[in-house]
């Protein structure tokens, strides 16, 4: 009897790759799947499940399945992918400066002038209005700093 190819470890490995890439290409766009990457964890769980099932088969039923070498290699590669994902989403994304000097609640913000996306100069105090010496009507401002490099 010819032995079958054992496709489960390869399938598990590919699911892990998809789980990794889909977070950065897709799931990170939505707060619900970005802040806590549960959708990615589910995909990884599926991939690891396939791997575990696939790893055991050539050892339990050696007369039916091949892949005693390929299985463990794919398992190690998959673990590396899982490990890199965990590192990226738990440690790497937390490497941020403390920003001890950021204006605190109750403090005045420093003014600045920068260009907007159309190249027009915009002054923060002008948006806030006359109370801080700006020119425009009084209003609140939500000031968001992004990392950039899009």
């Amino acid at each position: 009897m010819t032995r079958q190819r054992n496709v489960l470890p390869l399938a598990g490995f590919l699911v892990c790759i998809v789980a990794f890439l889909s977070y950065f290409l897709f799931f990170s766009r939505f707060p619900a799947t970005r802040d806590v990457p549960w959708a990615s964890w589910l995909l990884f769980a599926l991939g690891v499940g396939l791997l575990v099932a696939g790893l055991a088969r050539p050892f339990r039923q050696p007369e039916r399945y091949r892949g005693r070498v390929a299985g463990p290699i794919l398992a190690v590669l998959s673990l590396a992918v899982v490990g890199f994902f965990v590192f990226q989403t738990t440690m790497a994304s937390r490497q941020l400066p403390a920003a001890a000097g950021v204006p605190k609640v109750g403090e005045k913000v420093p003014d600045f002038v920068l260009q907007d996306s159309e190249g027009r100069s915009v002054r923060l105090y002008d948006l806030l209005g006359p109370a801080v010496g700006g020119a425009g009507p009084s209003s609140w401002v939500v000031l968001i700093f992004y990392r950039g490099y899009w």
Binding site: S28, P31, R34, D35, T89, S93, R94, L96, P97, A99, A100, G101, V102, P103, K104, V105, G106, E107, K108, V109, P110, D111, F112, L114, Q115, D116, S117, E118, G119, V122, L124, Y125, L127, L128, G129, A131, V132, S138, S139, W140, V141, V142, L143, I144, F145, Y146, R147, G148, Y149, W150
Partner: protein, 91 residues
């Protein structure tokens, strides 16, 4: 209003792609980021550490969110809730 280190052309492209319409400033030398102590050197570049500030018309900070994980940002509804709370009872 948002600030990033990208030049205006890159920002314009990104705004069009994302469908965002708010004022988006370019801070290629991380001037504002340094002024607010939010600059973050990464390799030989300086970007900003993500942060959100709610500033009232007198220029006073009324609320700050300094995320500890750049994947996790303030959601718009959170800022709106804070604004409603801070302005409750005032005209």
């Amino acid at each position: 209003m948002a600030v990033s280190v990208d030049p205006p052309a890159v920002t314009r492209e990104h705004l069009a792609k994302m469908g965002w319409t708010y004022t988006f400033l370019s801070d290629p030398e991380a001037k504002a980021a340094r002024l607010y102590d939010l600059h973050h050197p990464v390799g030989d570049q300086v970007i900003a550490r993500p942060a959100e500030l709610l500033i009232d018309p007198t220029g006073t900070v009324r609320w700050v969110d300094l995320t500890e994980d750049y994947r996790v940002r303030t959601r718009p509804e959170t800022v709106l809730e804070v604004f409603d709370r801070l302005t409750a009872g005032k005209s």
